[in-house]
């Protein structure tokens, strides 16, 4: 440990800590462009200059290690002057097109200009022209004139995605960031370059011009795209819903979690939220026997329960199959377990459907299991592998032979795991098929009743990722139409069946869950928000155990 003093604040930090990091720990933010804690340090932008006593010249805070007894000043006249000079240089050839720049409002040139520069331009020369609005990959647009050559994106492609697409060519005021001739910025993580570009040089093709960032609200959540469970912020547009075609969720951004995704997320997850505002959303409980008819939740619950009881009384409890989903939260699954297994006494409950085409994976973030809560479902024991009931495949086979008479299916599009005719034969042979999920699919099309479930951005709950880390999603936008959280749907059905589900909030469910399920026992609800809690102290399961085979 070494002791340093920064702006009069004395702190102790591990040896090797840089001045910029030390200042952060002392609660002082030194401006930076090129420095990013997840990338190598290059010290090229010079905005982080600070005064260090007994050093003749200003030093870059990002590169300089803090040493014993060092006294640093981040706010002296000399430092402020230097910052202003750096800003002036950075803006010499900058096009100043903020009014049409998508980064405006979250641009570090704007922020630091307001905080540290506020100079009048002294430039009368013509600005150097470079390429603008250049599509450099499937997700990223480049405006070279706005680039300040901090090289963050280059280092990201070298060090994180390891795909080396970007480089800085030529020099001086002709230097320009470009992909290698003949290639595109096209890798599984390319969207992160947009996040880390401190200016409007790299912008998001998907998000561009959809809304100004100051209209966005932010809610902490977890990406449901695979079993990694990258921590994210959901950026939603509550104020101007008529913009961007009425879509409420504008974009997803990675949220730092050192134990899961650090600063990053994959493109599939980043752009994979469109189902939330898609036309395929189910808006109301619907009866699809003969003519399609919308119903109230009360009607739907009572009709479904009547039919279910009928099936059970004639053919027995073994004639009903329940297919839950690893897309559902721990809370959803716990209430499902309470209702179907403990309440109705059903035996055939499963949740795993092995996809016909195995999901892509890599050795960084992307997992083959494209579900956020497979581990949670296993720990809750709602799979055939954990109990003694039929697997989904066995259920479909039994349904075809009419050994099963009713199927309750959550979220799954069974066509992803089985041949279309297998699913069709099985489902059409049933007396009752209920589908519950946020969006219609080929399975819901075969159901007698379709119930609208809230999407992941519309509810609160927790997922357990592949490494058995329990992490929370929060309600960002209100459920569309009549939809509600899966566990609330089960609660309505349970009420009809006089089964007690005494929970009002997701938190109540969670408390009951931790009291009842050994694997989760003692987990504090309050501690889940933010970074989540690892059930096994960060010990990851071997992948073979966690991937839906």
């Amino acid at each position: 440990m070494v002791k340093v003093t920064i702006d009069g604040i004395e702190i102790e930090i591990p040896k090797g800590t840089t001045v910029i990091q030390a200042a952060e720990q002392a609660g002082i933010e030194i401006p930076r462009y090129c420095y990013h804690p997840g990338l190598s340090i290059v010290g090229v932008c010079r905005i982080c200059l600070v005064e260090i006593e007994r050093m003749p010249k200003l030093q870059v805070a990002c590169y300089t290690p803090a040493t014993e007894g060092m006294v640093v000043h981040t706010n002296t006249e000399q430092v402020l002057e230097a910052r202003q000079a750096v800003m002036e240089f950075l803006l010499v050839n900058h096009p100043l097109d903020c009014p049409v720049c998508d980064q405006a409002g979250e641009c570090w040139l704007q922020n630091f200009y307001m905080q540290h520069a506020l100079h009048d331009s002294r430039m009368f020369e013509n600005k150097v022209k470079k390429s603008k609005a250049l599509q450099i990959g499937p997700n990223v647009m480049l405006d070279s004139e706005r680039c300040i050559l901090c090289s963050r994106c280059v280092r990201f492609c070298d060090e994180i995605s390891k795909s080396n697409e970007l480089g800085i060519f030529n020099r001086g005021d002709r230097a320009e960031l470009q992909p290698y001739p003949g290639t595109e910025l096209d890798n599984d993580y390319s969207g992160n370059t947009i996040d880390i570009c401190p200016v409007g040089a790299l912008t998001d093709r998907d998000f561009r011009f959809r809304t100004r960032v100051w209209y966005l609200s932010e809610t902490e959540s977890i990406c449901p795209g695979c079993s990694t469970g990258c921590n994210i912020n959901v950026h939603h547009n509550d104020q101007r819903t008529y913009k961007a075609g009425g879509s409420r969720v504008s974009r997803l951004k990675p949220r730092y979690n050192p134990d899961v995704n650090e600063w990053w997320m994959c493109d599939a997850g980043r752009y994979g939220f469109t189902h939330v505002d898609a036309d395929s959303r189910i808006l109301a409980p619907t009866r699809s026997i003969g003519e399609e008819q919308e119903m109230s939740w009360g009607e739907a619950a009572s009709e479904i329960m009547t039919k279910l009881r009928e099936v059970i009384s004639v053919h027995g409890k073994e004639s009903v199959g329940v297919i839950l989903s690893p897309q559902m939260t721990n809370e959803d699954l716990f209430v499902a377990r309470r209702f179907f297994r403990d309440g109705l006494g059903l035996k055939h409950i499963d949740f795993e459907v092995a996809p016909l085409t195995t999901g892509a994976k890599d050795d960084f973030l992307i997992k083959a299991d494209k579900n956020p809560n497979t581990a949670g479902a296993r720990l809750l024991g709602v799979g055939a592998r954990q109990g003694s009931g039929m697997t989904v495949a066995e259920m479909l086979e039994a349904a075809r032979k009419r050994k099963l008479r009713a199927l309750y299916i959550c979220h799954h599009d069974l066509a992803n795991g089985f041949a279309v005719d297998v699913v069709e034969e099985a489902l059409t042979a049933q007396d009752l098929v209920v589908f519950q999920g946020p969006n219609t699919n080929s399975t819901s099309a075969l159901a007698h009743y379709v119930l609208p479930a809230a999407a992941f951005v519309e509810k609160t709950g927790s997922f357990t990722n592949y490494a058995e880390r329990v992490q929370m999603i929060h309600t960002a936008v209100t459920p569309l139409g009549e939809s509600k959280a899966d566990w609330q749907i089960f609660r309505s059905l349970a009420k009809e069946a006089a089964i007690s589900v005494p929970y009002f909030e997701a938190e109540d469910v969670f408390q009951a869950l931790t009291a009842e399920v050994e694997a989760f026992s003692g987990l504090p609800y309050a501690g889940l928000a933010g970074q989540g809690i690892a059930l096994r102290d960060g010990q990851a399961l071997p992948e073979s155990e966690t991937v839906v085979a």
Binding site: N164, E165, L166, G167, I168, F169, N170, R171, Y180, P181
Partner: protein, 158 residues
């Protein structure tokens, strides 16, 4: 795999160079220099080849290559005239020298003749102000230029 390769001679020279550095990529500049000698200019294929030799992605070679204006990434003539445009040469009449060369070689500045005989460039100060106006022809400096001495040089080299 790249489509070009060093001759045996250049390859052993490369091995000698690379052995002098703690890291292969550190030998970037001398390797580019060697490659330019062997291939005349650093084409995209040569870029890839140099990257393979140094075990870095070709894009890293390109970054260095484009940073230095002294490397040729396009074909250059056998005779490369680089006329200094520095302030001393300007005061001492380099414009006349340049115009004269343009006429004689039938080229604009920064152009290469179709037969790859000549390239004419205007460059920043070459650090030989005492002989202004001056130019560099391939590896040699020629100073105190007049249109007549330029003609003499041209006759000699043709």
């Amino acid at each position: 795999m790249s489509k070009v390769a060093f001759s045996q001679e250049s390859l052993s020279e490369f091995e000698r160079i690379v052995a002098q550095y703690p890291e292969r990529r550190a030998a970037m500049l001398p390797t580019l220099y060697l490659a330019e000698k062997e291939f005349g200019h650093i084409s995209p294929e040569v870029e890839v080849y140099v990257g393979e030799l140094l075990q870095v992605p070709a894009i890293k070679v390109r970054e260095v290559l484009t940073f230095y204006t002294l490397f040729a990434s396009k074909p250059r003539g056998k005779l490369h005239f680089q006329v200094c445009r520095g302030i001393s040469c300007d005061l001492r009449g380099c414009t006349k020298i340049i115009e004269h060369l343009q006429e004689k070689l039938n080229l604009n500045s920064e152009e290469t003749s179709a037969d790859l005989a000549y390239t004419l460039s205007e460059v920043e100060c070459l650090g030989a102000c005492e002989t202004a106006p001056m130019m560099q022809l391939n590896d040699d400096y020629h100073g105190d230029l007049t249109t007549e001495t330029v003609d003499l040089i041209l006759d000699e080299k043709k």
